[in-house]
Structures are given as structure tokens and as C-alpha cells.
Symmetry: D2
Amino acid sequence: MIEKGLKIAIIGGGSSYTPEIIEGFINRYAELPVKELWLVDIEAGKDKLEIVGNLAKRMVKKAGVDCTINLTLDRRSALKDADFVTTQFRVGLLDARIRDEKIPLRYGCMGQETTGAGGFAKALRTIPVILDICRDMEELCPDAWLVNFTNPSGIITEAVLKHTKIKCVGLCNVPILMQKMVAEMMEAEETDIFVHFVGLNHLVWGRKVYCKGEDVTEKVVDLLVHDIQSGVKNIPENEWVAEQIKDLNMLPCPYHRYFYLTDEMLKEEIEAAKTVGTRGEVVKKVEEELFAIYANQDLDVKPKQLEERGGQYYSDAACTLIHAIYNDKRIVMPVNVRNNGAIADLPENVVVETSALITKHGVLPLNTGRVETKIRGLMQVVKAYEELTIEAAVTGDYGVALQALTMNPLVTSAGIAKKILDDILLENKEYLPQFQ
Amino acid sequence: MIEKGLKIAIIGGGSSYTPEIIEGFINRYAELPVKELWLVDIEAGKDKLEIVGNLAKRMVKKAGVDCTINLTLDRRSALKDADFVTTQFRVGLLDARIRDEKIPLRYGCMGQETTGAGGFAKALRTIPVILDICRDMEELCPDAWLVNFTNPSGIITEAVLKHTKIKCVGLCNVPILMQKMVAEMMEAEETDIFVHFVGLNHLVWGRKVYCKGEDVTEKVVDLLVHDIQSGVKNIPENEWVAEQIKDLNMLPCPYHRYFYLTDEMLKEEIEAAKTVGTRGEVVKKVEEELFAIYANQDLDVKPKQLEERGGQYYSDAACTLIHAIYNDKRIVMPVNVRNNGAIADLPENVVVETSALITKHGVLPLNTGRVETKIRGLMQVVKAYEELTIEAAVTGDYGVALQALTMNPLVTSAGIAKKILDDILLENKEYLPQFQ
Amino acid sequence: MIEKGLKIAIIGGGSSYTPEIIEGFINRYAELPVKELWLVDIEAGKDKLEIVGNLAKRMVKKAGVDCTINLTLDRRSALKDADFVTTQFRVGLLDARIRDEKIPLRYGCMGQETTGAGGFAKALRTIPVILDICRDMEELCPDAWLVNFTNPSGIITEAVLKHTKIKCVGLCNVPILMQKMVAEMMEAEETDIFVHFVGLNHLVWGRKVYCKGEDVTEKVVDLLVHDIQSGVKNIPENEWVAEQIKDLNMLPCPYHRYFYLTDEMLKEEIEAAKTVGTRGEVVKKVEEELFAIYANQDLDVKPKQLEERGGQYYSDAACTLIHAIYNDKRIVMPVNVRNNGAIADLPENVVVETSALITKHGVLPLNTGRVETKIRGLMQVVKAYEELTIEAAVTGDYGVALQALTMNPLVTSAGIAKKILDDILLENKEYLPQFQ
Amino acid sequence: MIEKGLKIAIIGGGSSYTPEIIEGFINRYAELPVKELWLVDIEAGKDKLEIVGNLAKRMVKKAGVDCTINLTLDRRSALKDADFVTTQFRVGLLDARIRDEKIPLRYGCMGQETTGAGGFAKALRTIPVILDICRDMEELCPDAWLVNFTNPSGIITEAVLKHTKIKCVGLCNVPILMQKMVAEMMEAEETDIFVHFVGLNHLVWGRKVYCKGEDVTEKVVDLLVHDIQSGVKNIPENEWVAEQIKDLNMLPCPYHRYFYLTDEMLKEEIEAAKTVGTRGEVVKKVEEELFAIYANQDLDVKPKQLEERGGQYYSDAACTLIHAIYNDKRIVMPVNVRNNGAIADLPENVVVETSALITKHGVLPLNTGRVETKIRGLMQVVKAYEELTIEAAVTGDYGVALQALTMNPLVTSAGIAKKILDDILLENKEYLPQFQ
């Protein structure tokens, strides 16, 4: 591999996040010689692909690294003999996300991109596409690693691991940001921090937090409930209920607000939808501004404005992961990986988000064993929802889809689940062939 | 045992249900020679104890069986050398129940006697009392069986099995009624029906239903969604969502409505509270009427009006169980019993409601193994809530209590959980010494 | 079913055990109306089939029951629309058994029909045949129950449950005899005894023994070590090591002698082989004598001499089981059944021998949970051997077969395993097409 | 910690291995500033302690590092405020080992220092002493790490973790040597090799072997069966059975010979005992020669002859481990650690030998999940033996001790187990107060 250099394919290459991943590869070039980078997108994303692809070319040129940027709408040529494939596509684009947010709100339920009924709709649209990509990979690059950060990342990764032969790791910036937040709180280097992550994507707990080998969980939790910093741009900063978080004595992730503060989050979201718009509507404007900046022919580095987009460090985490795999670094990272008994309270064949050792031969979760009752129940009910969602997305079975939504803690009854499901199926018809 | 006859102590003997259990013992006297029946109550229940106790004496006399009815406020003399102890007491009486129903409603959450925040409050009050009874039993009748039907029956049974050495079985009339309903639907004898029950108390599924050895689950489910009969008096008859129940392909219990139809049930409850009163308020009136009937010196049989009280067959199930244990009948009954791995998706040391073989040497659950994803998540999250509730009730730890309520699917956020918890602690102060 | 009566097919109908099963059906005729009984055998067993078949006809005639006895070499006509199928065949007949006994002895290892390397050879020969029978059943009588008592019964049942869709229960007379022995020891009725069996076929422990609800395990173990009665004809009566069995505080099965008293049993076997012959050689003579008796045209009942054959109650247990299934009796019997988590220390998909509820819709194991360390290890290593044996028998993989024998506690090294295996493959060549 | 430097106590400091650990600390001094090294021994080992202790002083002086060597018979002063404690003592000295080897041989069973009945006897003698040390540690240095390499290392570590509060890691040079062997076979650097170890101490498999990320398990196994190198001095080099090891497709450890080649090993051992003496007798002579060398006042480095002693790299592994803990290196090492579900086929509370991440806050096993049937059974039966051995050693219960030996695959029957046990108890009387 070393001699020929690496070939990497980025599905959804026209994404606004692409400059970050380009920067990541440039910075690691000495140890991670990416010689070919293929940005793939679909017809509808052609313009954005051009804009961001040209920026990528300028960035690479400025950095002076030997790396060819290929822009293409032909996924198969991008996948052919790739060493790594990353995914950051959005089926139905931001308009679909906005619908995902608005449908549940109609019925008094949280409408969010990755959790609740919104994340469910996104999963239904995305899973057929990712499985299609994997079938191409099985043919064209069967040994390549798929680094997925398409949301809902845990669900998508589980669908891939259950239904294809592709080696897949799911990534999320949420635990990465939690680690950074802890380092800041403890005024320490990130390498001095060790957060043992346990849970699911967007429902992950920092079960134990260490700084230089010392257990600082209680200290960090204290800081958290006194000085609120969600650290994630996409989530309104509602205050935790201090007594509950202190009893928890773990680090919740920002998305826990949807479950621990359902009522309050819902009120805020309803209010936002009436005034500034849903998060998807806000992001749409931000994206337009970003692409205007990207289109500037003088720009040849990642612009600072990207950091305000939310989702920062996502691409950087992907670069770190690819680098660790390629160089057999055996470092510990929070990733989405097959459980296989690592968390004893969840089935073996599901995907969990947990601290894992990254090696060249695979991603090996650290063993957790049984978790505390206080996090177990929520983790289990959400996982059951996720498994049902994958089954519904793969089979197109209406009953299973309804069961999945009914199980979701953010959907308040089977009756309402049915109404939301019917709207989702109707308004996403073109993206849900499995339900025809 | 046979020669001396059996001694049975009924804690909460002044309950309106007592005539049913008396009738049960009378009917089984030939094979279950109860020679001494001790009805125990507390000072506040003295009058009711007198009324129902005297009715019991008249019933026994009329039946012509050799059985002494003892009325006492001294629990220890009742427990001394007892063979079986049953419990049907209500700490704080119906007024406490009414508060349990009203507090959650203040904050837009379901207020119900046994599930949700209402059942939580009831558990906090009841657990210290039942553990106290068991400590007496460990001293005065260590080999006696405790047949618990004090609600929340599963939680109470688990508290006893985790914290005492007493042999305890938890009973509920809900699965009994489900069996009767199936027999009626199938126009078959009850003995022809075999329902394999799996789940938790008030969250039990008839996972498979057989009639004369034939799997009739689908047929029964079809009848259920077309011709709604909840069969339980305490629960409003909201219609199931047919598509969800059909996909489930199991028999839900009536209490599943609180989880599957949360929104609809909540609306009805709010409406009822405004008009006819909460269920507790209704029951209070019914009880007053019942005791007026019981007080009639001419009455010497169980009056028909008792059947309208709700909870019918509870006491009859207790008699069947005691009879089966005493005579080593080795029949199958749905009971609350230590899981011990019978349901692989739940911890070993928790109590589950499942079909079990009743023998003289113990209650042996049939093995279930893993359950379907579509029921697993809900079962697991409710069990986690139950475990936390028991821990909170035993330790009096505020944080754990808050965590328990937050985990409960019928409580909508940690913020609301805190408000409800504070009200519960304040308004039940005299019954919650562990939280002082 | 009732109107048309039952059709039962007995594979290996020419067996010397057949008169017992005929007697069993005759005795139960009122509740188990067997109208057609098909005795099937192969060409090589034709003479015996005639002899025993004609005895069966005389027995039925004498009893005056309406049941046709059909003798056939055409298995498929026997299986067509059968309600129950039982198996008691021996691939390679007694000569193969004698080889199974002698080959291991050559290398200083126990040679026994059902355990050790002998049982392994028998499994290799039998599994392809039983799977073939099941494929016929899938076509000709897919709803029939297969009641297997071909040895090694647990292994054969597991092969069927893993590789076919047929409903199969494995039976063994060993636990039945243990129950009878306990009844005798306690001078009680068999119905007063409850032995909770846990383990594997021919490695089953009476983990708890009750008499009229009282735990008499310790008492029975005491009697056992003082007054040795193996109760099984095929096993020499070596004395248990009292201190070990008392610490065990469970009822070992007679076959435990091969594992607990390996050395002593081996010495005896070597001695016997030199003098009276191996057990197979002894049985061969007994069988010849039995068939001489059976051939007597005046005989029209089961002759007493059959009881000396060993394996008594086998067929009676089969009749009891079939009767319990057919009439949905819901009694508890020790059977070989899919584990499914009933014994938590063994895999879910293996077969265990344990107490189970016999119903018309299936055989439901009682839950056991985790077992004591003192029986766990031996049970686990023997089960691993059994799983490997099945895999070897199905795939014909030499390496797996060698691994299976190496894992067997009665085979003393991989080197010796290889020698034994090579001899087995060579001397059973005609019966082991899968290894060609 | 850094400022004051580290204090390390070595229990059994008079061991012949001590020069290696001294060398290890000297080589790592820059990152592992050991300021105080306490060599502790008992009265009977005083002379050896003087000899090896003075060598240690000369070594430290020559190396010019700031480290005080303290020689003492007062364990408590050595433990006071220690940061790390290592153990390498031998209760009863080499004479006890020689007895451990000879007693089983009397009855035709393998007599070996760490496995079989010999290892059992060693465990009985050692566990009371190690628990006593831990009780001192709980008082004098409760936060110190105990790095155990006293054999049987897995059993001793499990005894400590089950019965004390001390943080303990068990070490063994066997997997370390396996890694080195693989590196040599692959002509690669040790850091390029990743062996995923799974199993128990002295029964550990290299389940998967990678070189630079590539799975080379099959290649290594091929080399192993063709070119036999046991790599461990204490074990005669019997040839593996190629077909079995190839089917295994894992790297067996040298001690697997006792289980896979029992017969052959036993013959060799019997022969050796008659001629050159048991391994213990050989080692006794080697030790005498070593101490003669150590006594040379001109020697101030670790002498080469130590490497021939067997057990090389043991102390070096300890230094690597202590270094990794102290500096939070987060490297992967094979260690003995609480299972906690890492290997799903073994109980949670037992100790396993597996690849683990070494951090400053603890030793975290990588998750394994379920293992292959072909290694599962043996691993499980040996673990059950180990658990029973610990229970026997702690309680002094004769029945449990007998059960443990009966379970051991290298002991051929309960009858022989009893004879061996009686001899062990008699000949080790002074070291086994728990059995009085």
C-alpha cells in the first residue's frame, strides 16, 4: 500500500464539511500518503461538488502535497480499488431534513435530525442507499474500510454490519467534543484525558472520566451542572437537572437533553420553529453562505466560518481514525462498532458507541461488562427502537416501522406514531422505494 | 401439616376484597384445610376489619367448615407459625391513592395507581412496610410462603426477594383475566387454553396463545383489535392501534394502554378527573357502598357487588396458588417470580411476571430465553425503573428516586420528575421515614 | 386427530425393545388410540422384524385393541402422514457396537457405546441416517413429532434440531430410572418424587431431589454412597468416592462413573473384554436368546426376560411422552430439548437433558439458570465435545473430528485421538460416506 | 509521585529472578524513577536474600542510578507506602515443588509445578500467604498495585481479586514468549506483531495472530507444526499433532501439551523422574549454581546464565507493565485480569489471561465475546477446577478440594484424586493451616 499511496473515496463529496477532511489529510500527509481523493456526488449535488471540489484542489495545491482530487458523479469509478471510503451524504438534501423536523412537531413530538421520529425518517431514506454503496464496495473494493459519518451514524453502521460484508466503523463528533470539553474543564492536554465511553450514538455516556490516571468523573460532573456547555452547535443549551446528573455521576452527551429534558426541549423547538426556523432551516442558510465563501477563487484553506456550522471535528476524527488504521497506531477512540458482548446488557449483533482500540486489523472495543441500572433501561429501549428501524428500512414492513416509532421514547403513543409514519411515508415517497 | 390444619394470616384483612378470599378457602376446604384464618389490620382500619371480619365469620359458619376467624391489630400473633401469609394492604389508604393520581396530573403526566409516578409513590410507601412484615416473618414463621398481591405487585415482590429471606410469590389478576378472556374468545374451557406469559407485572404479554395445543395467537389478536374488551375495570377502554397490535402478534395486557396509548389515556384521565373524579375517588365511593352491604348482619355469602369493584379473581388466584403449593399440584400459573435467567434479556435477580410451575417446593418459571425486539426495549426500560424504585425505597436516596422517575416512560422529563418527586415526598411525609 | 386415530411409525421396529413399546401403547389405548403402528426396518434386519412384528401382532390381538401392525422395509410409506415417529435403530447393528467398544481399548481408552470414543463413532454413523429420516419427514409428515431414543440420544437430538425443521424430543431411560430409584429409597410413590434434572444425556445430575415437597437431596445422596445401586444394567457397579459425592450433594447418573471413576471403570472394562466379553458381545447373546423367545408362536405378551436386557423403561417413557403430548397433559418429564438459555452456562442452540413441561404445543424446559461450579466444568467440556462431534458428522471434516475426540475427557491425548479416529474411519468405512 | 520517586516492594526478593527485575528497573530509570526498592524475604531465605540483594546493590551502583536497595525480613516496613508490590515467592521453597511433582506421579498422574495436581498443591499453600500480604497492603499501601507473578499466576490473581480490595494484575512470561516466537517466525519487529490472547494462565491461546495488520495465524500455525519450538524451558518439547493444531488454527501455548499430549508428556515425565530427576530437582541444581555466581563480588550485572533458568522475561514483563501503568502508556499486554464479560463463555468474576490495555487507572481487557467451541470446553473445565481450588484454599474444605482435583483434566478419577489429595495434605501439613 505504501508504495502506491492511498486511494480514498468520499461519498457525498459535495458536502460543506469536505474542506475539513481535505485539511485533515493535508496535515497528516507525511504518515498518511493519500495520492488519490475521489469526491463523489449525485446529479442534484453537482454544483456544490464543483465548488467544494475546486476549493479542495486549491487547498491541495497550496499545501504542495502530491494528491489528485477527482470530482465525479460515477460512484463506481470512485470506489474501484479504494482503500478507504467515507460517507457524508444526505438523501433528499436539507429539504428532507426540514421535513423530518416538521412532521413530528405537527403531532407534538420532537422533530430532530438524528433522534426521535426525524432520525427515524432519515434512517429509512439512508439505509437503502448505504446498502447499495456497500454492494458496490463488495464488488469493487471488498477490503476497503467504510468510515461512516452519515447520520444516524450508529443505525447506519449497524445496517451495514448486519446486511453486508463490508468492514465499517461509525464515527461521531459528539464524544470527540466531550473529550475536548473535559480537557478544557481540567485545563489538561487531550492526551491526558481518558473518557470511557459507553452507549449508543447520540446516546453515549462518559461512564468514567480520568485525567492523568485519576478518576475525575465527579469533578467534571460538578463543573457540568454548574457551568453549562453543551459543546454541540445543533442543540439548544437547556440546563440539566443537577440532582439527576449528579446521581448519574457520568458525563451525559448533549443529545441526552432530548431524553432527560424532553418537555423543555420540545417547547424550545416549537418556539424556534415559529421564529428563527427549525435547525434545518437555519443550517440551509448557513450552507448557502458557506458555499458562497467556498466559491471564492482566492480561498485555498479551510475557512473559519465552517466551524460555526456545527459538526466540527467530524472530518478530523475521520482522518485520525484512517491514520490510526493505516499505521496500526493502536490508540483508543470512541467509535460505533459491533457490540459482540462488550456491553453485556445489549445484544451481540448490534452496534454500540464505545471506546475501542484502533488497529490495522480491526477496531476492537474495550470490554465494559454490565452497566449501571440508571443508564441501562434508556440505552436498551433506544437500541430496540434502532433495531426495529433497521428491520423496517430493509424490509419496508409497515407494521415493523410502526412498532419502531412506538418504541421510540420521543414518540408519545402508537396512535401518534401512526400519524407521523403515514406523513413520513407520503412526503418521502420518492426516497422510500422499499415501502411501495 | 395435614393433621394440624393450616394457619393463614391476611395482612390488610379489613380490605373489601376479603370476602372473595374467604369464599375461595371455603370452596377448597376439602383439599386445603384452613383451620385458622387471621385477619390483621392497623388501628386506622379497625372499623372495616370488624365489618368484613364479622361477615367472614358468618360466611364460614354458613358453609359449615371448621375454621376459626381471628381479627387482630397485633400482626405478630397472626404471623406466629403461619403456613401462608397474604398481603392486601394499602399504606395511606385510598386517600394516598387519590394523591398518587393527582400529583402527576398537575404536571401533565399520567397519574395511575400502579404504573407511572403514581405507582412509584405507592412503592415508596409500601416497601418499608412489607420489609418490616418480612422481618417479623423471618422470626415468627420463617418457612411460611408470602403470597403478595399488594400493588405494585412485581416491585413489592422484588423488594422482598432482594432484601429478605422470605419465600414470596407475587400475584396479579391481570394475566388471570387475560386467560379467561381468551377462553371466552375461543369458546373453550379455561383448561384448554395455555397462554405463555412473559414480561413484568402490569406489563405482561401473552407471547403465545394456544387452544388445545394449537397456536391461536394470531386469531386472538385479530379478535382483540376488532372487538375491544379490556377486561379490567380500572382501565378506560381506549382502542388499540390495530396495525401495531397485529405486528406485535402477542396479547397485550390492559395496562399496556398506558404505554402504547399514552396520549389518549392521559387525555381521558384529565377529563375524568374534572368530571367523575379519578379512579381512586370512584373506588372510594364504591368501597363505602360495599362496606354498607357487608355490615348487613343477614349477609353470609360474598355479595355480587364485589365483582364490580375491579380486581376480581385476585383473591381467587391466591387460593388457587396456595392450594397448588400445599398439594404439590405442579400446575402452570402466571406469577411474579425471581427471573434467574428465565427471560434472558433481563437481569437474573429481578422479578418477572411469567408462566411458572407451582410445586410444593417452589415456584419454577418456565424458560423463555430471549424475547422479540418489539417487546424487549419497553420491558427493559420499565424494569430498570422498577429496580431504581426499589433502591430508592430502601435507601431513601433522593438522587436515586429522581433517577427512577426520570427513567419511567410515563414521566416526560427529569425536570418534571423533580417536581413530581418533591410533591410526593412532601405529601407522603408521614409514610416515607426513609427519606427524612 | 381423535376420530381417525393415531398413526405411529417406529424406525428400527425390529429391535428387541419393540414388545415393550407395544405393551405401552396397549396399556394406554383408552386415552391414546393408536390405530396404525408401522414397524420399519432395513433389509439386514428383515428376519428380526418378522419375528418381533409377529409377536406384536399377537400382543395386540390378545389385548383386543383396534390397532393395525404394519411391517415394512419401505420407510416412506411408514412415515406418510404419521403423527409420531420413534427411532430405535442401530446403524451397523451390534457388530458395529462391539467395534466401538474395542477400538478405544486398543489405545488404553474407555470403549463404551454412548460416551467416549465409542459413542463418538456411533454418532458419526447415526447422524447421516437420522438427518435422512428427517428430510423424509419434512416431506411426508412435517407436523409429526420425532421421539428419539437412538443413542447417543442427546447428540442425535441436537443434530436433528440444528439441521432440520422437525419437532424432536430426545428420551433416555437413565433419569427415569433415577426417579424410580429415589422413590424406592424414600419408600414413596413415584408421583411424590420430584427430581430437578440438569445436564446432558448420560451426564445428567439430579440437582435437587424432593419428596412430597421436602428437599431430600442430602438424604438420598447419603443412601447412595452407602448402598450402591447403579440401577442401569449396562454399567458395572463401581463404588462412588463418598466424600466427592457428598460434597456434590446431587444425584449423579450411573454414567458419571465413566468420568468420576475413569481409571477404575477402565480396568474393569479391560478385564471384562478379556473374560466375559465387552458389553456389546454380552448383549449380542442376550438378544439372540430374546429373539428365540419372541419367535415362540404362543407368546402374546411382553416376556419378562426383556427386562434383563438393560434399557428397560425406555419404551415406556416414550409412550408416556407421546400420551402427554397427545392429551396436553402438562406433566414434567426429563427429556432432551433445545437449551434456549434454560441452563445459562451452556450455549442457547445446544440440546440439554433437563426437566421439562410436556404440552401438546411443545416441550418447555423449566428454567435452571446458572449451575454450581462443581458440575459446570464437566458439563461444559462434554457439551463442547458433542457440538464438535455433530459438526464432524455433518461435514465429514477430519480436523473437526479429531478436535472432538481430543476434547473428550475419556480420550487421553490428541495423539491417541488420532489413532482411534483413524481406526474408526477405516473400520466403519461403509457407514461413513461423509468422510470419503 | 514523580517528585518523591517510586517505592517498590518485591516479596520473595531473594529469588534467583531478582537480577532480571533490577536490570529492568535500571534500564527504565529515566521514565520510571524507582528511588526505593525493598527486597523482602522470610527467615529461611535470608542467605539468598543477602546474596542476591548485594548483587542488586552492585548492579545499581554500577548503573549509577539513584535507587536505594533495602533488604529486609520485615514485610510490613517494605509495604508501607509502596507504589507497586511484586511477588515471586515460593511457599515451601523448591522442596515443596519437588513434592508437588512427585505425589501425582505416584498415582500415574502428571506432576507439574503449575498445572494438574502439582499446581493445585502450590495454590493451596500460596493463597493463604498472598491473602495475608494483601491484608497488610490494605492497611499499609491500599492504593498500590500488586503485580503478581507467583504461580499458578491466574489462580493467585483470582484469589486476590475475589477476596481482597487490592488492585492486582497477574503476569506470565508464556504469552510474552509466544509473541517473541511469532516475531522471530515472521522475521518482524515485536511491535509489528499483535497476538490476541484468549484463555487462562498456562492455557492461553493466541486466537488470532497479526503481523503489520495482516492475519498470519494460519502461516504461524503451519510453521509451528513443522518446526517445533516450545520456547519455554520448563516443558519437554513433544511434537504437536499437526492435524489437530491446524484445525485449531490458533497458537497453543507450550503448556497446552499437558492437555493435548497428556499421555506422551506423562511418559516423558516418568522417564525423567527416573533419570535426570523432576524439573524441580533440575532447577534446584541450577539455582545453586546461579547463587554461586551471584555471590561473586565482582559481578555487577545480570549474569547470562540466568536466562537458562526458564521463566526468562518474567521480570522484564513486570517492569514493562509497571512502566506502562505509571506513565499511562495505554499499550496492549497479555495479563491476568478480572473477566467481567470480556470472554462471554466464562463467569464474570473469574480471572482470565487476555490482551488488555494498560492504563494508569486500570487494566482494561479487550472484548472477546464468545470463543470457538474447539477451545471453549477445555477452557471452561479448567476454569471450573481453578474456581474450586480457590474455594478450597480459602475455606480449607476437604470436599471442595476433592471436587477441584476430580474436575482437573490431568487427574484421572475421583478415587485417584482422593489419594493424591490425602498425600498433599499430609506432606504439606505445615503450610496448610486452613485444612487443620
